[in-house]
Amino acid sequence: MKFSAEFEKRFAEMLTHYPTKRSVLVPTLLYAQDEVGYLSEEVIEEIAQRLELTQLEVSNVASYYSMLVTKPRGKYNVQVCTNIACMLRGGEELLEQCKGRLKIGNKGTTSDGVFSLEEVECIGACSWAPAIQVNYDFHENLDEQKMDAVLESYRKKVTQ
């Protein structure tokens, strides 16, 4: 299993930060997922072996964290917050708008594999609501027009 040089450098360094190998597990799974797209069986096996854990132990941890997934999803994961602060300022409407524009439901992926959609809990953008994250990028103070522009900007990135 091959990860990027950056991943390997970070992984090796992080191992020196803790008294137990296992401690690097959670951030390592997320960085691995960023490279592969999801936590495939191969990734789980590789990380388990490196940290001297069983695959079951690794899967057991992975299943706990909402950002970690075991199935592929779109290149751009559109995460719409509908928690209280966003709900008050139109978060639910943004989610419905995304469903309509992308023609997928919550946790769905477009047939071209470009977009996934996910309703998420509070992302820490309450004072700039409604807000979404596309992968790790925040888009805040949105309305219908701005939401369309955000989707369009990512669609353009694919064709460029």
């Binding site: 008294p19 690097v24 597990l25 964290y65 509070c122």
Partner: protein, 435 residues
């Protein structure tokens, strides 16, 4: 990335370097950076703890426990290494303040963590940042690397002969991990499930060693206390509630934003003056004063000083600084449902009262909002919440139960208005107000 705001009533302490380029270590040094830790190196550990105690600094994560007192619980002699763990798993709905600290002043968090380590005799500190805050992790990792490169952390810090390491750590999506024992589990590479207390982390924490866990804003406040003095800091706030804090104004407001105000600032003023009041000529219906787990306040309850003790007297809590304002178009059954849906989603499932209680509440609220509720459900929801209180390892069960009880107690009529298959009578109110 997030927009900065300002208001004349602000007293900038934690936010004083926001927007000033302090992520750059040289700029941070120009702005009094790393002066406080040098001062701490020349102090006795007890003197540092006393200074923080006397400042009246209380935990900014929500519990409001005296920071100095927390530090004093760490045994002087310990057979295992001691640790400082900075809690940057900010996830309480309504709260978005630590984000700004990491974005604009990461070195202040590092410096505060260092001072805490010197106070309790720890040689390692971890700064845990939630997984969603990737861009902030990048900023923090660079800040740590820069501090190592200058010899501020690592071996023989500032030539003092003392070693002190500070590391970054990242999460991967979990509200529960913001609870201190679950945070330690997560850092140890496990599911974020809370530990039974006692023993408390100050005695048995990370890998069995004494551990102090402080919120990022709490730690970022510490260098300012050491430089300005306990008396100055305490004087900014109200008795037993020292200093300032970042208030996240959100919801139905003209000017939402994160504002740094003195502890004890009046909530009504915060909403109508600092936050600019309610838009579209609407009226105030209710306020969540400190993150979604704090019981909601009615308009007649908001003439209150925003410090831990004063808000407690209203039956709510100051919490994490997330002030969420609701105008009169909001359906409280729906708002309760969204609040409970969150806690049901985030319950780790370890303790049955929380796992089953949040699920039951959610199902009842869905039924209610769909017009299929029955009268006895109203009391059942209250009774169920009451029975979740204090019966779980961690406060997540309480965090769901407390606001739920307030929704029923203060908005009983709205629940009753949903009975007998009636469509939600409040959502219609979302149409523009008649001017």
């Amino acid at each position: 990335m997030a927009d900065l705001v300002s208001h004349p009533d602000e007293v900038k302490v934690v936010s004083k370097r926001f927007g000033m380029g302090a992520t750059n270590i040289d700029r941070y040094l120009e702005l009094d950076g790393y002066k406080a830790v040098r001062k701490a190196l020349a102090m006795e550990p007890d003197a540092i703890i006393n200074e923080v105690k006397n400042s009246g600094l209380r935990g900014r994560g929500g519990a409001g426990f005296s920071t100095g007192l927390k530090w004093s619980f760490v045994p002087k002699q310990a057979s295992k290494p001691k640790y400082i763990l900075c809690n940057g798993d900010e996830s309480e709905p309504g709260t978005c303040k630590d984000r700004l600290i990491f974005e604009h002043d990461p070195h202040a968090v590092i410096e505060g963590t260092m001072i805490a380590a010197l106070a309790v005799g720890a040689q390692k500190g971890y700064i845990y940042i939630r997984g969603e805050y990737r861009y902030l992790s990048v900023i923090m990792q660079k800040a740590i690397a820069d501090a190592y490169a200058r010899g501020f952390i690592g071996k023989n810090i500032f030539g003092s002969g003392r070693d002190l390491d500070i590391y970054w750590h990242g999460g991967a999506g979990a509200y529960e991990v913001g609870e201190e024992s679950a945070l330690m589990e997560s850092l140890e590479g496990k599911r974020g499930i809370p530990r039974i207390k006692p023993p408390f982390p100050a005695v048995v924490g990370l890998w069995g060693g004494p551990t102090v866990i402080n919120n990022a804003e709490t730690l970022a406040s510490v260098p300012h206390i050491l430089l300005g003095g306990a008396e100055w800091y305490a004087g900014l706030g109200t008795p037993k509630n020292g200093g300032t804090r970042l208030f996240c104004l959100a919801g139905d407001l003209e000017k939402p934003g994160v504002y740094e105000l003195p502890m004890g600032y009046n909530l009504k003023k915060m909403i109508y003056d600092v936050g600019g009041g309610i838009p579209n000529g609407r009226k105030l219906k209710a306020v969540v004063p400190g993150g979604s787990s704090t019981p909601i306040l009615l308009p007649e309850e908001i003439d209150v000083a925003m410090d831990f003790d004063s808000v407690a007297k209203t039956g709510s809590m100051l919490g994490s600084g997330g002030v969420v304002v609701l105008d009169d178009t909001v359906c409280m059954v729906k708002f309760a449902l969204r609040t409970i849906k969150f806690y049901q989603h985030e319950s780790c499932g370890w303790c049955i009262p929380c796992r089953e209680g949040t699920d039951w509440l959610k199902k009842t609220l869905i039924r209610f909002h769909n017009g299929a509720g029955v009268n006895k459900d109203i009391d059942n929801m209250y009774y169920l919440s009451e029975n979740m209180l204090g019966r779980t390892f961690c406060p997540l069960g309480d965090a769901a139960a407390m606001p739920m009880m307030a929704f029923v107690k203060k908005f009983r009529k709205e629940f009753e208005d949903h009975l007998d298959g009636k469509p939600c009578p409040y959502e219609k109110a979302a149409e523009p107000a008649l001017v």
